[in-house]
């Protein structure tokens, strides 16, 4: 495995935390009174069942949603009160549905990452050039620099998006399910890159679907349910079969990974009362629309 030294040129530091955060849509509260402190220089992974509010929380941390009550604090200040440009120099988000203009190449994509540091009168500098080239090296995309994004594989594409976030040169990086659409091999690519980033000093917050990957790559795991934190801490202390039963309603057996010592989830079975409900629903659908 290669080791990269990354261009953390800005020695800007950033702390991110929430205080009594309430986020919601309309009448519905999705995040309820959350207090979270993101540890610096580590990979924090947020997990939980569908609808627990983890994506909403990430969006709130990235100032995409306004809090109903409470605050998200970046370096101690409410994130909504800071100019969005300044926030963009401290925090980069890679959302789940990221899309780019048609036909864009990797180089062009990465260049966009420099935007928060540029201005109308100061459109390019050698520093920008330097950072873009380093980002390309860090994401191992030098040979693909002029390829169109759409012609690349899923894993390469995700690496390109992360390269753009690297070029944005922020101490904080937020990723929303970066690996959900990727196969195993590509998933590992992305996770390894994320690991390099934290080794170089960045703070990464990820929302992950897959609990096993979360256990493997997280330094700090945050388990959510119904908008609240159920428990947080290092995966091997926090993840128990009781927790999994509470979050997902399935029973399982936990083993210890021989290589890393993190929990591995096996022998998953739905809990008894759920099985009956599912069968009934399938029968109804089949009846309705037969031609």
């Amino acid at each position: 495995m290669k080791r990269f030294e990354l261009p953390c040129i800005g020695d800007a530091m950033a702390t991110l935390e929430t205080r009594d955060l309430y986020l919601g849509y309309g009448r519905r509260m999705v995040v309820n009174g959350l207090n979270l402190h993101i540890p610096q220089g580590q990979v924090t992974v947020i997990v939980g069942p569908n609808g627990c509010g983890k994506s909403t929380l990430l969006a709130g941390l990235a100032r995409l949603n306004k809090p109903r009550s409470g605050a998200v604090l970046l370096n101690g200040l409410p994130i909504g009160s800071l100019p969005t440009r300044d926030v963009a120099r401290l925090l980069a988000l890679l959302p789940q549905d990221a899309s780019a203009p048609e036909g864009i190449t990797v180089n062009e994509l990465i260049r966009f990452g420099r935007q928060p540091h540029q201005g109308l009168m100061r459109q390019w500098s050698s520093k920008d050039q330097l950072i873009v080239e380093n980002a390309l090296h860090a994401a191992d995309l030098v040979e693909l620099a002029d390829c169109a994004l759409e012609s690349m594989s899923g894993g390469q594409r995700q690496r390109a998006w992360i390269a753009m976030a690297i070029a944005q040169d922020t101490p904080l990086l937020l990723l929303d399910e970066p690996t959900s659409a990727l196969d195993l091999g590509h998933q590992i690519e992305v996770f390894e890159l994320v690991r390099q980033l934290t080794n170089a000093g960045k703070t990464v917050v990820m929302v992950l679907h897959d609990l096993s990957s979360a256990c493997r790559y997280a330094d700090h795991l945050v388990a959510m349910k119904a908008g609240r934190i159920v428990i947080e801490g290092a995966p091997d202390t926090v993840v128990t079969s009781a927790l999994i039963e509470e979050l997902y309603g399935v029973s399982c057996v936990l083993l210890k990974c021989p290589q890393t010592g993190t929990p591995v989830i096996t022998a998953i079975q739905p809990l008894p009362h759920k099985q009956q409900k599912q069968q009934g629903q399938t029968e109804f659908l089949a009846e309705e629309f037969q031609s």
């Binding site: 309705e288 629309f289 037969q290 031609s291």
Partner: protein, 333 residues
């Protein structure tokens, strides 16, 4: 499921009663110096020559025409929205009406003037508009941009009306004939128009019947509908032919009347939900009701003059369009 049919029946009766009432009002009021009271007397058999002419010679054919055109446009609206799975779809907005108008202009400028020829020409023109819709639908993936269709239709309409404009520039005779036809109106149409419109309407409605069930399945998405044994492309083609028939007939009979195909499905959905198996039957009653209502308004508002009915429907329909899109999510069809 039994609950849904129970919902439909009361709504149908409400709509039916509404329609009858509106027909009555349409007969009672209007230009021609025959007031409401006298009209009522005439309907019961006690009127003089003039009143009887106004009621039976003018208002009755007009009301009938409104009903025929209303049924055609209302049903076409529901069908079009269902086949494009787009609650913003409307024959006028998508260029179907523009297609039939252009075909009529071209036919008249090429020398045709028999009214029955205008009908078949209008249907063919509407069909071309529908084919464009089909082409765009086929290219769209599931759940992609609903506005793309509307924009394509707007562009297509613009193109066709420019072509019509070009034809009219060259040919003064056609221009004079078209000047009044081009604005949709129920007034001053010869009685033959009604009879000429009936074949197109009945044909369209009959062809529509076997397509309803497949169309409901299509609402689940193409892949799912195929797996249930339907043929999505054939169903779409069939429905679009029906829409072309209905819209072409309505256009040839009364000129292009826009927005009805938007208002009627909107109301029907409000009343019985999104299932086409219910909204379609309701639209057959709501269509004529809305059109008659608009016609009555157009007669009353600036009495003794008349507003073109296209203006009234646009002023009802545009807010409906805006309201539809203001809702948090576009209702999924």
């Amino acid at each position: 499921m039994p609950e849904r049919s129970r919902h439909l029946a009361p709504m149908l009766s409400v709509a039916g009663v509404g329609l009858v009432l509106l027909c009555l009002i349409s007969l009672l009021i209007g230009a021609g110096d025959v007031g409401a009271w006298r009209s009522l007397e005439t309907l019961f058999g006690q009127g003089d020559e003039q009143s009887r002419f106004v009621i039976y010679g003018l208002r009755w054919p007009r009301t009938e025409l409104a009903v025929v055109v209303g049924i055609a446009l209302g049903a076409a609206g529901v069908l079009l929205q269902s086949v494009t799975r787009n609650t913003l779809a409307e024959p006028g907005l998508l260029g179907v009406s523009a297609g039939s108008s252009f075909a009529v202009v071209m036919a008249i400028s090429l020398g045709a003037s028999a009214s029955s020829l205008a009908f078949s020409v209008a249907v063919v023109g509407a069909l071309i508009g529908c084919l464009l819709v089909m082409a765009v639908c086929r290219l769209r993936g599931v759940g992609s941009d609903p506005v793309r269709l509307i924009l394509a239709g707007a562009a297509f309409s613009g193109f066709l009306s420019a072509l019509s404009g070009l034809l009219l520039l060259r040919d003064q005779r056609t221009a004079d004939e078209m000047r009044f036809w081009v604005i949709g109106s129920l007034a001053g149409r010869p009685v033959e128009t009604l009879y000429a419109a009936l074949p197109g309407l009945t044909c369209g409605l009959i062809l529509m019947l076997p397509l309803v069930r497949p169309l409901a399945a299509l609402a689940l998405g193409e892949a799912l509908a195929s797996s249930l044994g339907h043929h999505p492309q054939r169903v779409r083609l069939g429905v679009l032919i029906v829409v072309a028939m209905l819209v072409g007939t309505a256009n040839a009979a009364a000129g292009p009347i826009g927005f009805l195909g938007l208002i009627v499905p909107f109301m029907a959905r409000r009343m019985v939900g999104s299932d086409i198996r219910q909204t379609l039957w309701l639209s057959l009653l709501l269509g004529p009701s809305v059109l008659l209502g608009a016609d009555i308004v157009s007669r009353l508002l600036v009495s003794p003059y008349e507003l073109p009915i296209g203006v009234v429907t646009a002023f009802i329909g545009a807010p409906v369009l805006i309201a539809t899109v203001r809702a948090q999510r576009l209702p999924i069809l």
